[in-house]
């Protein structure tokens, strides 16, 4: 009585739909992109999304029924890790704030991987204080002209489109003068430069916008409502970052294997205790993610996702540090310092030292742990806000 999973009726119906898709489009003979288009049209792309946009309006928990069955049949997938920002952040934002026309136009190429997305939020002067963005969008007929500099932009060198947060009213207080757009990255006026990180690679970019153009039809939400839309995107991001997968997935699996294979001399009683504590903490986070996902199955992401992201960062850093220790001499080596521009973060595809260094970013990217603690304290626990001197002052009058 307590293990009622996804409804059996939905499951059988989904399996039948998958079988029909496979019968009409044999993966062995169908071109990859054509198969993905057909899957989208069949509502089997993301089953929780409304019909007509690649979904069936079913519980999100039923997606594995589709993925597993298609995987077993050798069908291609949409390489979701390549478009993490598109799928994890752009899609929920477009679904929540986009017009029907925008949803029709943007979601299909997003899901099928024809259009890769990035996120133009952070700036040199606006990281944790995101409402301080200075990139200007100035109206020009039925379009906007955008000028400014963005930074820490993952995937910008691959992206076709970007979620853009820009200032449209410098006379309004900083949270109220922002507007949110979907920007075409393939245009003059968008320059992407690699930004090398402490790992040696350039996974992030700087993006310089000089009179770049965005149609008003690509505005997401009202003029001046950019802060609310951006917050929804960020909550989706934190849920996406924090959601655990299977037990011993990710960093914990790497470190558990390091323990099992480490030369005996590196397996000390102290390291064993640390590992067991981290194993327990990983499982605590995994079950919290399960519970949160069950809560969110009906509703929108809330600030609780911030706690997941906080825990995830802490764990990744402690685990990757323990792994360096367990590897002994190998922990002193590094795999590759050459400047690379990867299309995704690949924690498990690289060596120990990379994981240790890359994990340092986990408590900074997507909201620093300090900002997340403030969010939890204020929005979840209802504690008083930080003392603010900038809240009701016009953005143009703020000291910078």
């Amino acid at each position: 009585m307590t293990t009622a999973g996804p409804a059996a009726g939905h499951r059988a119906d989904l399996e039948a739909r998958v079988d029909a898709l496979l019968a009409a489009h044999d993966p062995a003979t169908t071109e990859r992109q054509a198969f993905l288009d057909a899957r989208y049209d069949a509502g089997l792309a993301w089953v929780h999304v409304p019909e007509g946009h690649g979904g069936l309006g079913l519980p999100r928990a039923l997606q594995p029924v589709v993925d597993d069955r298609l995987g077993a049949a050798g069908a291609p997938d949409n390489d979701p890790r390549r478009n993490g920002i598109g799928l994890g952040m752009a899609a929920p934002t477009i679904l929540a704030f986009g017009t029907p026309a925008q949803q029709e136009r943007l979601l299909r190429p997003l899901w099928t991987g024809r259009e890769i997305w990035c996120q133009l939020f952070s700036e040199p002067g606006a990281g944790s204080d995101l409402a301080a963005v200075a990139t200007r969008a100035i109206p020009d007929g039925d379009r906007w002209r955008v000028t400014g500099q963005k930074v820490w932009t993952s995937s910008a060198h691959l992206a076709d489109r970007a979620l853009l947060l820009a200032r449209t009213d410098p006379d309004a207080p900083k949270h109220r003068g922002l507007t949110y757009f979907a920007l075409d990255m393939r245009q003059p006026g968008v320059e992407v430069r690699p930004l090398r990180q402490l790992t040696g690679e350039a996974e992030f970019n700087e993006v310089f916008l000089t009179d770049a153009v965005v149609d008003d039809a690509d505005r997401l939400g009202d003029v001046g409502a950019g802060w609310q839309v951006a917050n929804a995107t960020l909550m989706s991001e934190r849920v996406a970052i924090g959601s655990g997968a299977a037990r011993e997935a990710g960093m914990l699996g790497v470190v558990a294997d390091a323990w099992r294979t480490a030369p005996s001399g590196h397996r000390t009683a102290d390291a064993h205790q640390r590992l067991l504590r981290l194993w327990v903490e990983s499982e605590a986070l995994r079950t919290t993610g399960m519970r949160l996902a069950q809560k969110l199955a009906a509703g929108a992401p809330g600030p609780e996702g911030s706690a997941m992201k906080l825990g995830f960062a802490r764990l990744a850093q402690q685990l990757s540090s323990l792994e360096v220790e367990l590897r002994g001499d190998d922990g002193l080596r590094y795999d590759d310092w050459t400047l690379r521009r990867p299309d995704q973060v690949d924690m498990t595809g690289r060596d120990t030292g990379y994981r240790y260094l890359r994990a340092k970013g986990n408590s900074i990217e997507g909201g620093t742990s300090e900002v997340l603690r403030n969010i939890i304290a204020e929005r979840v626990l209802g504690l008083p806000s930080e003392h603010r001197v900038d809240k009701d002052v016009a953005w143009k009058d703020l000291p910078r």
Partner: protein, 395 residues
């Protein structure tokens, strides 16, 4: 990668309507009677609250939750019992629900001891006579000998035997007459039932760190005993496993109480012209504590759901929940005392009741370290061999 990957993926961790109703009615029943002052009175020798509360629990049918229907019980699930333990913990209620309605009831159910189960369903109480910190049946080395229908021996620090609602029956793991040691029918060991009022039974209450779950030392001297047929080792194992799995919900309840009470206090307490909860140093501590407590709730619910579903992941779920919830309950109540300032050190404020429950509760049915030891075996992370410490050899 561990063989248990993906285990328990279907377990539902959110309460259903039945559980929500149960929580609400129990909360109402406790709020009226279970005031901090009356709970604290147990430390001064007045244990009258416990009896009143137990009567209220019986009226709600809660001691019968885990008793099978054919023995007069509710035949409900572990999830409902977990909810009861959570709510009881939030009120620091001094009733032997974990020891009697969970551990003893599950032990008797595993034995199929119908008559005694019927008594429990009707509000009677029982306790398994093993040291309170023990959580593995394999560690039950019977301290009591069974000879000619009588038992002799002594067991130290048992819960659920003394207090305002003492055990009506003691379930005693015994060695056989040949001195075999091990609660196993094959070597002559068994479980026997002993009545606390009978001659030769001496229950000596102990001054306990947590007087809401008071301990007793029990001495048996040729006390009359009734042997309970069945697999004693399996029954003790089931009782302790259920206790550990669901005890985590009590710890999570204590942690939740500590967090919410402290947040509420810091939302109104002013110092230096400001609400104290607005200071970032305190906000960040509470945010971290919130994350810990959320995770404690999730692990406790996962363990309860695994027990309810008889999921193969139960042993791992229990080890995780017990080790995590124990440490979080202690941390949360220690933070509560600190962040209440001088008030937190007083007898008037209920912080101390919950601190004592957390600290003692973290030891009951296995310490966090003991449960992590279990985990090392369960998930194939063996400890280093004692000979293998130190630096790698030159090879």
């Amino acid at each position: 990668m561990s063989a248990t990957t993906g285990a328990g993926a279907d377990l539902v961790l959110l309460p259903d309507d039945v559980e929500e109703d149960l929580r609400a009615s129990l909360d109402r029943a406790l709020a009226a009677r279970c005031t901090p002052a009356r709970v604290a009175a147990a430390y001064d020798g007045d244990e009258s609250l416990a009896g009143e509360l137990w009567t209220a629990l019986v009226d709600l049918g809660l001691p019968a939750l885990l008793v099978p229907e054919e023995h007069g019980g509710a035949g409900a699930g572990a999830r409902e019992a977990a909810a009861v333990l959570d709510v009881l913990a939030r009120h620091a209620a001094p009733v032997p629900y974990l020891s009697s309605a969970v551990v003893a009831a599950t032990t008797l159910t595993a034995l199929g001891a119908g008559g005694l189960l019927g008594d429990l369903a009707a509000g009677g109480t029982a306790a398994l006579l093993v040291p309170a910190t023990l959580h593995r049946a394999d560690d039950v080395v019977p301290l009591v000998r069974h000879d000619d229908g009588t038992v002799s021996g002594s067991v130290r620090s048992v819960t659920g035997v003394a207090g305002g609602v003492p055990a009506g029956v003691l379930l005693v793991p015994v060695a056989g007459p040949d001195g075999a040691d091990g609660a196993d029918g094959a070597d002559g060991a068994a479980l026997v039932a002993v009545r606390p009022g009978d001659p030769g039974v001496d229950v000596a209450p102990v001054v306990s760190l947590d007087m809401t779950a008071p301990l007793a030392d029990v001495r048996l001297d040729r006390a009359p005993a009734t042997e309970l047929p069945g697999d004693a080792r399996a029954a003790v194992s089931a009782g302790l496993a259920a206790g550990a799995a669901l005890g985590a919900s009590a710890l999570a309840g204590t942690a939740t109480w500590a967090l919410t009470t402290t947040v509420a206090y810091l939302q109104q307490r002013r110092q230096f012209g400001r609400v104290v909860g607005g200071y970032q140093a305190l906000k960040h501590r509470l945010a971290d504590l919130y994350a810990e407590v959320e995770q404690a709730t999730a692990t406790a619910r996962y363990a309860a759901a695994a027990l309810a579903a008889d999921d193969p992941d139960l042993a791992v779920a229990t080890a995780v929940a017990q080790s995590w919830c124990s440490e979080v309950a202690v941390h949360a109540t220690e933070e509560a005392v600190q962040l209440h300032g001088g008030l937190g050190m007083t007898w008037e404020h209920p912080c101390h009741l919950h601190l004592k429950r957390a600290r003692a509760g973290a030891l009951v049915l296995g310490s966090p370290a003991a449960h992590r030891d279990d985990l090392a075996t369960l998930v194939d992370l063996p400890p280093p061999h004692p000979d293998q410490g130190g630096s790698p050899s030159w090879t």
